[in-house]
Symmetry: C2
Subunit: 140 residues, 2 copies
């Protein structure tokens, strides 16, 4: 928690209880939650919190590079505690999004073919291993 306060202060963001709770949630949950998922959990600790504050905080975090928004599903935005670039797999069956480790030749490059790269995503959609195995069992 002390660590999270530092992250915010380093970014010149006042570490309010709301912001800390949101960041704490993202720190504990690396499963790319939606704003609603964050709100639902933080609300149990801070019952007075509003969705506006969740959105405000996430916007602030994104602007400061603390959080990365993922536009993967076409509906809700997913939020990812920023680490080094990595790929994502989105399961169309169970909706889970998880990290993939892929050896990609341009990862972590800042420039490519003359363009400035600020963010990079490799992502895959399909049916995840778990869902495939469940399906197979049902048809045994």
């Amino acid at each position: 928690m002390e660590n999270l306060i530092n992250i915010l202060e380093d970014a010149n963001i006042k570490p309010t209880i709301e912001r800390l709770s949101i960041l704490n949630y993202l720190d504990r949950n690396h499963n790319h939650p939606t704003a609603s998922m964050i709100f639902d959990e933080v609300e149990t600790k801070i019952p007075t919190i509003s969705k506006t504050t969740v959105y405000n905080s996430l916007k602030l975090f994104i602007e400061n590079g603390i959080v990365t928004p993922l536009y993967i599903t076409g509906s809700e935005i997913r939020y990812d505690f920023t680490t080094k670039p990595h790929h994502h797999f989105f399961c169309e069956n169970c909706g889970k999004i998880f990290d993939l480790v892929v050896d990609c030749p341009i990862f972590s490059k800042k420039h490519f073919q003359g363009h400035l790269i600020r963010q990079q995503h490799g992502y895959f959609r399909g049916i995840c291993k778990d869902c495939l195995e469940k399906e197979a069992k049902e048809h045994h």
Copy 2:
């Protein structure tokens, strides 16, 4: 145009004038348009067409693998005439989305680490070469 009719008929989609116009637009414009951009252009040829029909048609095309939706910007969905998988670059300054040719080790694989891959996107956000050059000139 004959070719486009075949594409639709092969997918068991009745080639109405609306669907053909939409597909024709996508065939001529590989710049990843939004539904509105498609609507605006097709409307000049078929003034009675509605946005609902554009959305209905796109949905049908996507379900049949003729069109790929791109969830890149976080706001409007972009639509891409389906070809072989490729990367995209989204310029945060001018909003353009263009194709990138990248040598990626898992492209065109159908399975990866046990997961079934139906679709794959590699995409980059940042500032494109053209915008960087314009910026440089302004600060000469």
